[in-house]
């Protein structure tokens, strides 16, 4: 083990270290309040939409630093449609869910069409979408708030309202045993899978990371999962919305890392011309990225209106910025081709921790924005400069 290896390890895991430091800082400043079970639980439910949207945004950014500005408005619009359908039109919950997903995906496909096949710059296309769907949300809702408090099936399904936790099937008194066992099970499966891959690679004589790095990683991840599960168990258990987030993260993590489609996203962002000449349909890749963004925006819309048990024309404002910020803080490259789902989740958690920590400290809401802006800029500067080999200023 030499210095270069340690440095490399640190470089690859910078944001995790930053997260630990920030968490430590807030734990100190808030007298440990940020680590209270209730706050840990809140961190999840408050930021669920960020996790979902950031995952979709990552695919857009991978194709070449392209972003989708319309997601906040689309979340609002799809949410509005859902609320109107359930409350005013008395549509069944499952039809509402299908309609919301179809509309969100269709909006994504519409924008994706212009971006992918007509090559309208994504910034312009989605800026137009951002304006249009904000306006349409107002039209659909008539400028009013529609409450979905009584739609308990829908609200419970997407983890909103008062009853937004998975019930404890073991009936633990002060500790939610389902949650605790779930955590242990998840950690166990994770370690088993990692070990299996490692042994398999060793058997075939493939390269594996150093044993110490592997061990450190495993212990750290297992510890985090267990502590996290314990904290949640101390509160009320697994927030329902965490299940949705986990499904999205696992599915998209798998798609990006293990499928040909996922590979195509990275290839287009890495070198579009080479990708095209390798027989990959690059138009389709752009189209998929934005269509999928619409799909995930619909999911985020369900989570959002469930959590707030209503739909309002102002919902979803700046959601796109949270998602974009999480991606860049989480190590996605502003030029495309680089970034992972786990990285983006770390970025989103970091943003969430900063939000929560500052709120607990009683920092003025306006100053919170300043701090978030500074963190975002610093993260991207770090990314760009480190990729240039540490050179700060570019020669003219």
């Amino acid at each position: 083990m030499n210095n270069a290896k340690v440095l490399d390890f640190l470089k690859k895991n910078t944001m995790i270290l930053v997260l630990v430091i920030v968490l430590g800082f807030f734990a100190w400043r808030t007298g440990g309040a940020i680590l209270l079970p209730m706050n840990v639980s809140n961190l999840i439910s408050q930021n669920a939409y960020v996790f979902i949207l950031a995952t979709g945004m990552l695919l857009c950014i991978l194709t070449g630093g392209n972003i989708d500005l319309s997601v906040g408005s689309v979340v609002c619009f799809v949410g509005a449609i859902g609320a109107i359908m359930m409350v005013n039109l008395h549509a069944p919950v499952w039809i509402t869910i299908i309609c919301m997903i179809l509309i969100g995906t269709a909006i994504g496909a519409f924008q994706g069409f212009w971006i992918a096949f007509v090559r309208i710059p994504p910034f312009i296309t989605t800026l137009a979408g951002m304006l249009a769907f904000r306006g349409l949300s107002n039209v659909v809702l008539n400028g009013l708030t529609v409450s979905i408090k009584d739609q308990t099936t829908f609200v419970n399904l997407f983890g909103g309202g008062a009853d937004c936790y998975i019930h404890d099937i073991f009936g633990g008194a002060n500790l939610n045993l389902t949650c605790l066992f779930g955590g242990i099970l998840a950690a166990g499966i994770f370690v088993a899978l990692q070990l299996y891959t490692r042994i398999n690679r060793k058997k075939h004589g493939y390269e594996t990371e150093a044993l110490w790095a592997f061990a450190v990683k495993m212990v750290a991840i297992v510890a985090v999962v267990l502590i996290f599960a314990y904290k949640l168990a101390q509160h009320k258990g697994i927030p329902t919305v965490l299940i949705w987030v986990l499904v999205v993260v696992l599915v998209y993590g798998y798609i990006t890392q293990n499928t040909t489609v996922g590979r195509h996203f990275y290839a287009v962002g890495g070198n579009e011309k080479a990708t095209k000449l390798s027989g990959i349909n690059t138009n389709r890749v752009y189209f998929l990225a934005y269509t999928n963004m619409g799909f995930l925006a619909a999911l985020a819309a369900m989570v959002t209106i469930a959590r707030l048990t209503s739909a309002q024309p102002t919902y979803g404002q700046n959601y796109e910025m949270d998602a974009i910020g999480s991606c860049f803080i989480g190590g996605a490259s502003a030029y495309g081709g680089i970034g992972t789902v786990p990285g983006v989740i770390v970025g989103a958690v970091l943003m969430g921790v900063i939000n929560l920590g500052m709120s607990l400290m009683g920092v003025d809401a306006n100053m919170q924005k300043v701090v978030k802006g500074a963190v975002l800029l610093a993260a991207v500067i770090f990314d760009v400069v480190s990729k240039r080999g540490g050179k700060m200023i570019v020669k003219n």
Binding site: N200, R201, H204, Y206, E207, N258, T259, T260, V261, R263, Y266, A267, G270, N271, K273, A274, T275, K276, L277, S278, G279, I280, N281, G337, I338
Partner: protein, 515 residues
């Protein structure tokens, strides 16, 4: 005797792994037109880039003495301040700006915060008159022909008070009439303003028409300087200077086993994607046989890459017409996917720009064109992918610590091998290799030649596009010569010589009708 305006002494310039210029000496007298000739890659453009400060002082060895003083240019601005202006082969005009705006770009008239548009247009009018261009100064560049754009470039150079004008292949995209007009303009400026020019060109008839002296560069060294009225200015004399080099044992031997025609291209026409009236490939008919290494020789800009890319799933050009037969059956390859399906591969000349994803590891680049072969129902088998990459790394002797290494960190030769591996893994029957050895060292070249021989021994067909004549002669069973979009000659590999190829090219240059 006129005074020496410019003297370049013992200029040596090395790029990583390649010595582009080796002790080059050049003397230019005031008021003369000096022609630089040599094959592609001989170092002409590099020499002019050294002179104009594109490669700053310190990045080369030797001295530039201009107007009797030693110059140390840090960038183009420095050399322009002295009156040395270079006009590049690719015109540097901005299409959506007017002639006047382009002419004073970076050199705006008036004050910093208030451009004097009246002065701009009246001055540009004056320079346009000097070069004999009757267009309005307010015409957009995109609306005038390439020939006129070339004149705007010269006017722009004059507006910078050029004393020494460097023109890099100014007539390569011009027809006969426009070329002649441009050369006459140079002669006129020489007579009226005592303007000195250095002109790089491949068209030897132009050289003998316009030049007072000719310097021949070959393999990064000056070979000789011919003086008008003293030396023989005939084309054959110049060609001898350009190619006078022996073929040594740089190419691995191979017993050719040539079979039936594998692919045939008939009446192939391709137009420029932006300028739809410009014909890039003009009625080309070629075929390649099984087990054959077919060479396509020609100068840069002859349309070889465009031909190859238009065949490869119409990746280049507009209004492509013609017929394509593979194994006797007519095929329509409208996308790259189609081309790959019909077992065609195109290995680009621009490995960094069009070939590889530099920020990705070797293994990902290796499988990119044939991901399906390492995946089941779209799920990639990463272990298999790794095994494939290692296999090709060993087969092609790619030098790298591991296949997890990013391609951007490899040397040019090893990058080229990864690119070859990528296309070999796509399992093609016909490989089009576009400048497969550009910018790589001699050792790696030899290894690439061995791979090519191996491929044809397996019964594949290889079409090799190359600007290096020795390589074409050393490797190919049959050679087509392409120039200005047309096939101008076909030679059997055994009786081909550099002189024959150059003669084909030079005799056909500038003969094309305006179209």
């Amino acid at each position: 005797m006129a005074k020496i305006l410019l003297e370049m002494k013992n200029i040596t310039k090395t790029f990583p792994g390649v010595k582009a210029l080796d002790n080059v000496n050049l003397q230019v007298e005031e008021g003369e037109i000096h022609a630089l000739v040599g094959e592609n890659g001989a170092g002409k453009s590099t020499l002019m880039n050294v002179l104009s400060g594109v490669y700053p002082f310190g990045s080369y060895e030797g001295d530039i003495i201009y107007n009797s003083e030693v110059c140390k240019f840090n960038d183009i601005k420095d050399s322009e301040a002295k009156g040395i202006v270079i006009i590049h082969q690719e015109l540097a005009l901005i299409p959506y700006m007017t002639i006047a705006e382009n002419m004073f770009l970076g050199n705006e008239r008036g004050q910093k915060f208030r451009i004097n548009w009246n002065e701009t247009s009246s001055l540009s009018r004056q320079y346009l008159d000097t070069v004999g261009l009757a267009e309005s100064t307010q015409t957009l560049i995109k609306d005038i022909s390439v020939g006129k754009q070339q004149l705007v470039e010269i006017a722009k150079a004059l507006s910078k008070h050029a004393k020494l004008l460097i023109l890099d292949e100014p007539t390569s995209s011009l027809n006969e009439t426009d070329s002649r007009a441009l050369l006459d303009l140079l002669l006129k400026l020489k007579k009226e303003q005592n303007l000195t020019s250095i002109i790089i060109t491949h068209k030897l008839n132009e050289v003998s028409y316009v030049a007072d002296k000719i310097t021949v560069i070959r393999d990064g060294s000056t070979i000789e300087t011919l003086i008008k009225g003293v030396d023989d200015f005939s084309e054959s004399r110049i060609i001898k200077g350009m190619v006078g080099r022996e073929l040594s044992d740089r190419f691995p031997k191979r017993e050719p086993h040539i079979g039936d025609v594998m692919m045939e291209v008939k009446n192939w026409n391709v137009y420029h994607p932006l300028y739809n009236e410009r014909k890039i490939v003009d009625n080309v008919n070629i075929n390649v046989k099984k087990g054959e290494v077919l060479g396509i020789s020609g100068l840069m800009g002859a349309g070889r890459t465009e031909l190859a890319m238009s065949i490869f799933g119409k990746s280049y050009g507009e209004n492509i017409s013609g017929q394509l037969f593979i194994n006797g059956k007519e095929v329509h390859l409208n996308t790259v996917q189609d081309a790959i399906k019909h077992k065609l591969a195109y290995v680009t000349e621009d490995r960094k720009g069009n070939g590889l994803i530099l920020s990705n590891p070797i293994k990902i680049n290796t499988t990119l064109a044939n991901l399906d072969a390492v995946s089941t129902r779209t799920v990639i088998d990463k272990d298999k992918e790794y095994a494939v990459a290692v296999d090709y790394k060993e087969k092609l002797k790619t030098k790298c610590p591991s296949v997890e290494q990013n391609v951007g960190n490899l040397s040019g030769g090893n990058q080229q091998k990864v690119l070859l591996a990528k296309w070999m893994f796509a399992d093609p029957d016909i490989l089009i290799l576009d400048e497969p050895t550009r910018g790589i060292d001699v050792g790696a070249k030899y290894e690439i030649y061995c791979i090519i021989n191996q491929l044809v021994d397996e019964g594949k067909s290889v079409i090799m596009i190359s600007s290096e004549l020795p390589e074409i002669l050393g490797m190919c069973d049959r050679i087509y010569v392409m120039n200005e979009g047309r096939m101008v000659g076909e030679l059997d590999g055994k009786d081909a010589t550099q002189e024959k190829i150059m003669t084909y090219i030079l005799q056909s240059s500038g003969k094309r009708e305006v179209g």
